[in-house]
Amino acid sequence: MKNNIIAELVEVSKYYGTGTGRMVALDCVDLSLAKGEAVVLVGPSGSGKSTLLHLLGCIDKQDKGRVIIDGVDTSAKSLEELASLRLDKIGFVFQSFNLIPVLTAYENVEIPLLFKGLGNSFVKDRVNEVLDSVGLYDRKHHYPRQMSGGQQQRVAIARAIVGNPSLILADEPTANLDSRTGGDILDLLLHLNKNEERSVFVASHDSVVLERIKKVVRILDGKISID
């Protein structure tokens, strides 16, 4: 059972501020994500969705509890160790795409592979393959500013999956897109992970997302409930 779990939060709490101004962003959250699973996290603005995603993505530290990624407890890991864990296991998709503006689509997708000590030809093939799978092979020499929002988000998805991570975290990936494009993006995300043991965890309150992902985790004032 245990090795079927890609990510797990155990009694995780996160606070902002101190003293009387202290604010509970996550309150003793227990959550586990199975390999290959697609889950949507819904909740009103300010409920703690992003905070939860940041902890799962190991880019922020919880104040209480444990975060376990692929069987590894991250609590005691150094910043460097966490960075290499992210490089290997986690892909991020952001609301505002976060592409590097001075790099072409190809170069943006290439980034995660550059720091893994892989061979040139392998990197080239893999980047082209992934760009092809998001339907942007013919746009690979375009810069972000030369692409539409939907295209940019496809590049971002390609960048997130290029390193073959087991967990994709997407924080409001469709919020900056119209509903049709948003739907396409989500279809793409789900399609790319259907046959692979890759979990997708999406924070969203977009109906486009809710229509497509069956498993829903609700969050309100830092407390979660699972449907």
Binding site: I59, D60, L85, R86, L87, P101, V102, L114, N120
Partner: protein, 429 residues
Amino acid sequence: MNIIKIATISLRNLLRNSRRTLITVLVSAAGFAALAILAGYMDFSFYGLRELTVCKGFTAGGGTGHIQVFHSESLKKEELFPMQYGVEDNEKIRADIESIDEVSFTMPRIEFNGLISNGDKSISFLGLGVDPEKEAELIQYWNSLEKMGGKKKMSDTAYRKLEKTGSFGVLLGQQMAKALNAEAGSNLMLMSTTVDGAVNVVDVTVAGVIRGAMKSIDRHYLVAPLETAMSLLQTDKVSKIVVVLKRTEDTAVVSRLIEENIHGQDDQPMFSVIPWEELAAYYYSVRDVYNIIFSFTGIIVVAIVFLSCTNTMLMATMERVKEIGTLKAIGVSNAWVSLMFLFEGFFIGLLSVAGGLVFKYVFSVVINNSGFKMPPPPGMSSSYLLKIFSAVEFLPWIALLIVFSTTLSGLLTLLKIRKISIVDSLTHV
């Protein structure tokens, strides 16, 4: 491979805010140019000082030539009587020295002193017995130096006049001539002690008036033909042999050759061979002063370049907080991220050196062709033509200094990048 990719990213980032990059590059290029020009000026000054020491000198001893050969005792002991430790048989020794390829010519000199009188008034003098033709040749050596490029050549007419006046002519320092109320054609008397300790007097005719490089020397300065000095002292020895080379750069080599090959009887090392720089203590003091000035200027310039570049780098990190956060979120380490900035600093340095070289070149050409004159240095009697030399051997070091400081400011972004919180930067707009 990754390094090249990162370097490309850095180049593109530099073009992103091209105006800011340009300003930073201009500041650093100006810094490079300032140091390069200063080095060029120092190079010119050292060169000028060196050649002026060789050809004209700053003491009553006249131009030092490149090497001087003395009787070895003369530098160790006080003479009991004039010319006790003079060099005998100077023609033969000179012929030996002149057989060395690098040597242009040699000449004998006698240093003597005594009183000079016009009948009413006597003042003490420091005299130099010379071969006027050879001394004129030394001046021609100066005039042949292309690097000084002066339109105003040094004149050898005084020595020519001395030669024409014959064996009992003298040249007087300007101040001495004034003090004795003498002019060309005046008859004066020289009084001195002979090698036997007797007092001797010779009558001389003023052949001309000369100006020493230093004002203080003029009042006691007197030049006479070798024969005059010899007959006044009743000797056929000379005080020293002055060796003039074809190129100053050969001084050390030729000094060694002379030391090895010129001996007294029984192969005893009878001669001291002294290169010009040991005869010119002030050369080292001037060098030291210049080196201190250069070091200070260097520190200031490097500080300005470093601060200006660091400021640019910090602005760039602030502008790119979101990108930096994204890279860090992906799992790129702080070190790799700051390597991008390190490259930016490095490229700014390279561009600055390129720009600085252009500045320096243009400035040098303008100065070197403008005929701009520097006022006489303290204690000196004439102004000189300003030149900026190319200082090629200094430029790589200055370039290194500039590139190092701009690169360092790129590296320092690591401190900033480490502190950027990924979560905060992702919410940054």
